[in-house]
């Protein structure tokens, strides 16, 4: 379900936005328009849609228009042109009363510099959104404490913002945005002012909260690692334009143009790619059903020297090599006796960077086995796929060992 549908959203700062709009329509770039007219193009015909429950990251360097874009969504900045449909209703056409109502009930916002009210206690800060809606003191206090509980700060309700650390202050900011129970969270560089370790904690915490609350989150950041960590989809902005929209892997593996390519070139692909993205499907031998001759035949057909052995429910049991299969066939041993059980086994979401040292440890003797959370076989990562990932070629599903 579409939560936000943004179409041709444009913001021009300057004396005669109408003229600027014309230049934008003629396809002129931000730089040219600035030189010609002195007007700044904040956002240039941005179009995108966000699904309900999605974490949509808008990323760009400073000056790319990302903070302006998020403020156009709740009209903290008035758009010059374009439409923002929230649940099908066009925000840009709302009168001030409807807009206020939408801000109160549908959208919570978290700010880069926290923007907590210094004259109010933590609890009063969290209550603010409810207070201005006229919710009775007792009820809003209860909701505020619940919301503080979500971020683990219920014991600090009576403190004042300046008594808290940066990370705690931003938790309060998050609690304040959550207290109204909005469908949408707008987070403007919410974690950028925090130091890297706390930032990572906050990202994890946000993802935890998100998995239970399923809000629609629009997250602004200039930090690619952050975008890749938390985004379901990422929109990359440059000079007010959206250059590319896609999943983290799309952006990394199929950059739309040189700019995106440059942006992502420093990213360590192995940290982003997961075992499941470089694994290939594997032939499996079902123990108790297939015998050694079937195993040998399959290896011959596929040109491999190993086959994965699973139980009837596809639970991974071990690796059977060609020599092992021969021994079973000739000496009458059982498959269990020759099964190799110390193969590298990882889950689907293990980053390639974690997988590599494990495979190196046993000298890439066998393919790494990828299972899901229940230990069922999903696929294998062969040596060639691993090297392809390291070489930066991205996903290579055709690799063979």
């Amino acid at each position: 379900m579409k939560k936000f549908e943004v179409e041709d959203l444009t913001k021009i700062f300057g004396r005669s936005p109408v003229k600027g709009l014309e230049l934008v329509r003629q396809g002129k770039e931000k730089e040219e328009i600035l030189k010609e007219t002195g007007m700044t193009v904040g956002v240039n015909r941005a179009s995108f849609s966000v699904d309900s429950g999605e974490v949509f990251v808008i990323m760009g360097l400073s000056g790319s228009g990302k903070s302006t874009l998020v403020r156009l969504l709740n009209r903290l900045i008035e758009p010059t042109e374009g439409s923002v449909k929230l649940d099908g209703e066009d925000i840009t056409k709302m009168n001030s009363e409807q807009l206020r109502e939408a801000r109160r009930t549908k959208m919570g916002m978290v700010f880069q510099r926290f923007a907590l009210f210094p004259h109010k206690s933590v609890c009063e800060n969290v209550e603010y959104g409810l207070e201005i809606q006229g919710v009775p003191k007792q009820e809003r206090n209860k909701k505020a404490l619940e919301s503080l509980g979500l971020v683990g700060l219920e014991n600090y309700a009576d403190s004042y913002p300046d008594q808290l650390s940066g990370g705690m202050q931003q938790r309060v900011g998050l609690a304040r945005a959550l207290a109204n129970d909005p469908d949408i969270l707008l987070m403007d560089e919410a974690f950028s002012a925090l130091d890297p370790l706390i930032r990572k904690d906050m990202q994890d915490e946000l993802m935890d909260l998100q998995s239970s609350m399923q809000k629609t989150i629009i997250f602004i950041t200039h930090d690619l690692d952050e975008a890749l960590r938390i985004g379901d989809r990422i929109a990359l902005m440059k000079d007010g334009k959206i250059v590319q929209i896609g999943t983290p892997e799309d952006i990394l593996t199929n950059p739309a143009n040189e700019y995106v390519e440059k942006f992502v070139e420093d990213v360590n692909l192995t940290k982003v790619l997961t075992a499941s993205s470089i694994m290939k499907r594997s032939e499996a031998l079902v123990l108790g059903k297939d015998g050694p001759r079937v195993a040998l035949k399959r290896m011959r057909e596929k040109g491999t020297s190993t086959v994965m052995v699973v139980g009837r429910d596809r639970t991974f049991l071990g690796v059977l090599t060609a020599e092992g299969a021969k021994e079973v066939a000739e000496n009458g041993k059982s498959i269990e006796d020759v099964l190799i059980k110390d193969a590298v086994v990882v889950e689907e979401d293990t980053p390639v960077s974690d997988l590599l040292p494990k495979m190196a440890e046993n000298q890439f003797a066998y393919p790494a086995v990828v299972t899901n959370e229940q230990g069922k076989l999903r696929g294998v990562v062969v040596r060639g796929a691993m090297f392809a990932a390291l070489a930066g070629n991205g996903v290579n599903n055709d690799a063979t060992s």
């Binding site: 709740n74 801000r103 916002m109 923007a115 201005i132 009576d158 403190s159 004042y160 304040r176």
Partner: protein, 279 residues
């Protein structure tokens, strides 16, 4: 060749005469508000014998401020009583309180307006500059024209002279509220009034109080000058001393003014610094 002098003097005189003739109703109305206010403050301050009033005032100061300020108030005001200047001091304090009250009632809303509307600030700024730099004595003349002699023109002149800091600092205080806090207030759907009363004014409070403090101090200095048009109070004591060249009497009057100034200053300052307790 000599250019003819622009008859600015005549224009102003004519304008003032025109105002006096056509707006006497308005001036009567203002008189009817200010006179009772001054009388009211005077009545309160003379309700009890001076010593008891001084004790009560010191107690109130203790509640609003620190012990040291309260002690200073007690000793200082008792000294004034001892110098037999209490009656004149009460007149002066009443005039100051009235002038400050009027300044705040008019000044704070004007300051808020100036902070919200750029054009209001654009108009107000030169007017305020004018009000503050014009020699204070000059206000006394039209004030006498419109309101005759006595306490009322004294208060009016004081208001004109003392109001600018309240307007300026209210404007400044509200404009100084960080932009992201305003954005936060907006993003959660505050109405304009909610934003003003729940965010802007509380955060501008200490700046506004600093403006009020200045207003009170300025109106005290103007009220003393206003004794020249019969406003009465401690200014009379000083004025008499000047005309008779009595140094001692002049010093006594001056000392009383200083004591009142210090008390008013310290009390308004401690009101301005919020008393939020850090646990």
């Amino acid at each position: 060749m000599q250019l003819p002098k622009i008859p600015l003097e005549q224009w102003i005189d004519t304008f003032v005469t025109w105002l006096t003739e056509n707006f006497s109703g308005l001036f009567d109305f203002i008189t009817n508000i200010i006179e009772p206010t001054v009388d009211f403050f005077q009545m309160i301050l003379t309700l009890a014998p001076p010593v008891i009033t001084v004790a009560v005032i010191s107690l109130l100061v203790l509640l609003a401020s620190r012990l040291s300020v309260a002690l200073f108030t007690l000793v200082g005001l008792l000294l004034i009583v001892n110098l037999q200047l209490w009656e004149q001091s009460v007149e002066t304090i009443s005039l100051v309180l009235t002038a400050s009250l009027v300044s705040v009632i008019i000044g704070v809303p004007l300051g808020i307006l100036a902070a919200r509307k750029q054009w209001v600030q654009n108009i107000l700024t030169p007017v305020l500059d004018f009000m503050q730099t014009m020699p204070a004595f000059v206000y006394l003349i039209p004030a006498v024209f419109f309101f005759a002699l006595g306490a009322v023109p004294g208060v009016i002149a004081s208001v004109i002279f003392a109001m600018p800091p309240t307007i300026r600092l209210t404007n400044l205080g509200i404009r100084q509220v960080p932009k992201d806090l305003i954005e936060a207030a907006d993003a959660f759907g505050s109405t304009s009034f909610q934003k003003l009363f729940k965010v802007q004014l509380p955060l501008a409070k200490s700046t506004i109080m600093a403006g009020m403090n200045q207003t009170i101090m300025l109106s005290l200095s103007m009220v003393v000058i206003a004794s020249m048009i019969g406003a009465g109070g401690l200014g009379d004591v000083v004025l008499q001393a000047i005309s008779r060249l009595e140094v001692g009497q002049g010093f006594e009057g001056g000392l009383a003014i200083v004591i009142i100034a210090i008390v008013l200053d310290r009390v308004t300052q401690s009101l301005g610094n919020g008393k939020r307790k850090i646990s």
